[in-house]
């Protein structure tokens, strides 16, 4: 128990709370300037997330998306590769999963779901493999390549959903055929987005946490991320570790795409993800790439996001949510810098006094 208490980083907790507070203040300022009453707006945010079982289900579903994507990002960051391409991996995973369901229409439910999940993971993994190989073998900056690949994937999915895999219904502009209802994930909370996929996500989250925090593999990953040269020097095959983490990260993102299709959308269209991965990336950064923190913060930011949608009802653009989230990041990133400049002057004065004391002591004795 004592160990657990020791594991809580109070400095982190304090700076997180202060950052959140500050972000809400900034948000309130922006709201006020654009003519809304801040308290009313935040009230709408709160009720937007909690006023009904349906909204609670919605934010839990979104928390699931954030959490799995966030953990996928952590997986890369731990070994020193930043998978910014989760969005593309997610989209491709989603569209392939959807199309597998269309192709296999009429097959047993279990078989279709397993095949769709495998397809999504394979596609997502492969799509992460490319920037991974370029990083490991050729040393090309993965941030740029993965971001480029996001846009490529988005265009590719548009093309597939408008072209070869098009929905026969003329009203659907860019979408695949709808899945048979027997393949849909069951709802956990009726009429909400929360489906049984959340259990799979929970298992996945547990596995990621276990591997990273409790196993020798997680230890090797951590050392690789901290100092790759030391890891290689000590006998680890760092290239493989980095590449594998990247592929698993991509597979997880692909799987989230499949969850979105089989749980919520029941076909592929671009509302499968609207930069959800980037929001998850922000969560992972705020959590400083710690798995448990990612899980907890996912819930918090999911509440904000779904709540912000509730704010739209009174005419407030929901993007205020993005502003609050990024202000938190700015504060967290600047925390050590601000603390440093605040304490530096104080520290100087203290040291000077101490030096003068010593001098006086010596004069007395000498």
């Amino acid at each position: 128990m004592k160990k657990l208490a020791g594991a809580v980083n109070y400095r982190y907790l304090l700076s997180l709370l202060l950052s959140i507070l500050f972000a809400f203040l900034i948000g309130a300022g922006i709201l006020a300037v654009s003519g809304f009453h801040p308290l009313e707006a935040y009230g709408a945010m709160l009720s937007g997330a909690f006023d009904s079982a349906r909204h609670i289900g919605d934010f839990l579903e979104y928390a699931m998306v954030l959490c799995v994507c966030g953990l996928a990002c952590v997986l890369g960051a731990r070994v020193g590769i930043f998978n910014v391409g989760g969005e593309g991996q997610l989209l491709l995973g989603a569209i392939f999963a959807a199309q597998v369901g269309v192709w296999m229409d009429g097959q047993p439910r279990f078989l279709v779901i397993v095949c769709a999940a495998l397809a999504a993971m394979a596609v997502g993994g492969l799509y992460a493999f490319l920037p991974g190989v370029l990083k490991v073998k050729v040393k090309v900056n993965e941030v740029i390549t993965t971001i480029m690949l996001n846009t490529v994937a988005a265009y590719l999915c548009q093309y597939l959903a408008k072209g070869p895999w098009k929905n026969a219904n003329k009203n659907m502009v860019a979408a695949t055929e709808q899945l048979g209802a027997q393949y849909w994930f069951g709802n956990v909370i009726p009429r909400s987005n929360l489906t049984s996929a959340v259990f799979a996500a929970a298992v996945m989250a547990f596995l990621v946490w276990y591997v990273m925090e409790r196993t020798s593999i997680g230890y090797e990953m951590r050392i690789t991320g901290e100092n790759p040269r030391f890891a290689f020097f000590s006998g680890l095959r760092t290239d493989q570790i980095v590449l594998l983490s990247m592929v698993v990260s991509g597979a997880m993102c692909g799987l989230v795409g499949m969850f979105r299709v089989y749980g919520v959308e029941h076909l592929y269209r671009d509302s499968v993800s609207k930069d959800y991965y980037f929001e998850a990336l922000m969560v992972a950064m705020i959590a400083q790439y710690k798995p448990v923190t990612v899980i907890l913060l996912s819930l918090f930011f999911a509440v904000l996001k779904i709540g912000a949608q509730g704010m739209e009802l009174i005419g407030i653009p929901s993007q205020i949510y993005l502003i609050i989230q990024t202000v938190i990041i700015f504060c967290m990133a600047a925390e050590s810098g601000i603390t440093r400049s605040l304490t530096a002057a104080h520290e100087r004065r203290r040291a000077k006094r101490a030096a003068e004391e010593r001098l006086k002591e010596e004069l007395k004795h000498g």
């Binding site: 020798s216 230890y219 090797e220 030391f230 020097f233 006998g235 680890l236 520290e347 000077k352 030096a355």
Partner: protein, 513 residues
């Protein structure tokens, strides 16, 4: 009564957790060569950085030629005639010699344009004036360290310095280059009346060049003497606070079978230039082979190639009778090799990881530490770490501290503890005691000889010639990637070795002639 060039009054400098200077008061006379000696971490460089305005002292005052320093910044120091040649050169590698020399006081055209011609002309004038030959148009990245140091000195002269600080100037120089540097120092002092402060820990250099010498230990100034009144032995005991008497290391046993065999090895450095040039060597079980070479003569690349950290261009490496050419570091370790790398921060540890995690590396998959489903057995890992921590006398805040926050000596003990715990028959050891305090040096040396006596084949490389002599059974000298000489330690002296380290092959005769 000579005027003082610099006066330090009760200088204290505290960094978070470290008292680098503790009430230092020191006068430096105009026109003298003052040597500041002390161990690593004694506070010499900090004191000089204060003079150069890089640090503002926590307490105390500095006077330059009688004028009190009000604002501590390099800009002020430069304007008051202070110049400093840092241990790690302050040169922009992609700029030319001239561009580096004129930096911050560039000659201009039309008010805003950099006048490269005028810069090169100014550099050329300085070169001719002081006889420090270097091509002003050469790109700094492409010239050797000896020339780079000349550029540094020219830079301070260009800025009009008459108080010159040299921080460990001879660390990267050959004995010949050192002589040339000393000649320059004598000249600028005699002809221009400059004041030179030289930081060093090589005592024979103190005797050779300085008029007076100040000794620092643990942030305090222990004493100031006229150089002619002291000898090296006295200075050494002032430096460490007790007479330095290394115990004789007991070497036992005969050399056995060949364990490291390097044949016709060629290796390139990071820039793609040949660093090791068709080199062959062999080390047998139960012996220490020491490499003596000036920094940058391929010894680092040689060790990296043997341990799998660097590509082998040509030739073969055998460890324990197995050909390991082109294998990865991990594969070579499995054959039976451990390695203490020269740069422990970059290669030897993970700074943000705990002592435990740093000690565990390489053993993390052992049955004792990794159970079902790779579950880490934290309690047995911690027990192991505690035991090693005790046995290697690591001093710090315990096994959970981040290694990056430890002192150099303790960090090195963590590396040594880990690498020696594999019981490998072959050890590659580079710079085992760089930046390590005296107590730890003794400890690490003892451990190395224990390993030798237990039958390990050890290849040692160190910038510290004393260390090479103390530990090695045989010594090879390297110059520009080739072996220039091979000796039994008992057959040669340090002075002779120096000759071979500068690329001469027929040592003695030539030295006499």
């Amino acid at each position: 009564m000579q005027e003082n060039a610099v006066e330090f009054r009760h200088i204290s400098m505290e960094f978070p957790g470290v008292l680098a200077n503790d009430d230092v008061s020191l006068d430096i006379r105009k026109g003298e060569v003052f040597a500041l000696v002390g161990e690593n971490g004694a506070g010499k460089t900090t004191l000089m950085n204060i003079l150069y305005g890089i640090h503002e002292p926590t307490n105390g005052e500095v006077y330059i030629r009688g004028r009190k320093v009000e604002r501590f910044s390099p800009k002020t120091a430069i304007s008051m005639g202070v110049g400093m040649v840092h241990q790690h050169f302050m040169l922009v590698p992609s700029f030319t010699v001239a561009q580096n020399i004129v930096m911050s006081r560039e000659p201009r055209r039309l008010g805003v344009l950099f006048d490269n011609k005028a810069a090169e002309a100014a550099a050329q004038r300085l070169v001719e004036e002081y006889g420090l030959a270097v091509d002003p148009a050469a790109v700094v990245r492409e010239i050797g360290v000896g020339l780079q140091q000349r550029v540094e000195i020219l830079k301070t002269l260009y800025r009009g310095a008459d108080i010159l600080i040299l921080d460990e100037p001879t660390a990267v120089l050959t004995p010949q280059e050192t002589d040339e540097l000393f000649a320059v120092i004598r000249r600028v002092v005699r002809e221009l009346g400059m004041t030179v402060i030289i930081i060093t820990h090589k005592l024979y250099e103190v005797m050779a060049i300085s008029d007076r010498v100040g000794v620092m230990r643990k942030g305090r100034l222990i004493g100031v003497e006229n150089t002619c009144d002291v000898d090296e032995k006295k200075l050494a005991s002032m430096m460490v606070g007790r007479p330095v008497l290394y115990d004789r290391l007991e070497k036992a046993g005969e050399a056995g079978a060949e364990q490291i065999a390097v044949h016709d090895l060629t290796v390139c450095d990071d820039r793609g230039l040949v660093a090791v040039d068709g080199l062959s060597l062999s080390v047998r079980a139960g012996e220490v082979l020491g490499i003596a070479a000036i920094e940058g003569n391929g010894q680092s690349e040689l060790l990296e190639a043997i341990t799998g950290m660097r590509r082998v261009e040509r030739g073969t490496v055998e460890v324990c009778g197995q050909n390991v050419t082109g294998k990865t570091a991990g594969e070579i370790r499995k054959v039976g090799l451990s390695h203490i790398p020269e740069d422990r921060l970059a290669t030897g540890v993970s700074r943000s990881a705990s002592v435990t995690d740093n000690l565990l590396m390489g053993k993390q998959r052992d049955k004792a530490f990794s159970g079902f489903a790779f579950h880490q057995r934290r309690s047995s890992i911690e027990r192991y770490a505690e035991e090693v921590y005790e046995r290697f006398d690591i001093r710090g805040a315990g096994i959970d501290t981040a290694v990056g926050s430890m002192s150099g000596g303790n960090m090195q003990k963590v590396v040594v503890a880990r690498e020696f715990s594999f019981d490998s028959p072959v050890l590659i050891i580079a710079q085992p005691t760089r930046g390590v305090d005296v107590g730890a040096i003794e400890f690490i040396h003892t451990r190395i000889i224990e390993k030798r006596n237990a039958g390990c084949a050890i290849l040692l490389c160190s910038a510290d010639l004393d260390e090479v002599f103390r530990l090695s059974d045989r010594i090879i000298t390297m110059y520009e990637g080739r072996i220039t000489g091979e000796f039994r330690t008992s057959d040669i002296t340090k002075e002779e070795i120096g000759w071979y380290m500068t690329g001469h092959r027929e040592g003695k005769e030539a030295a006499k002639a």
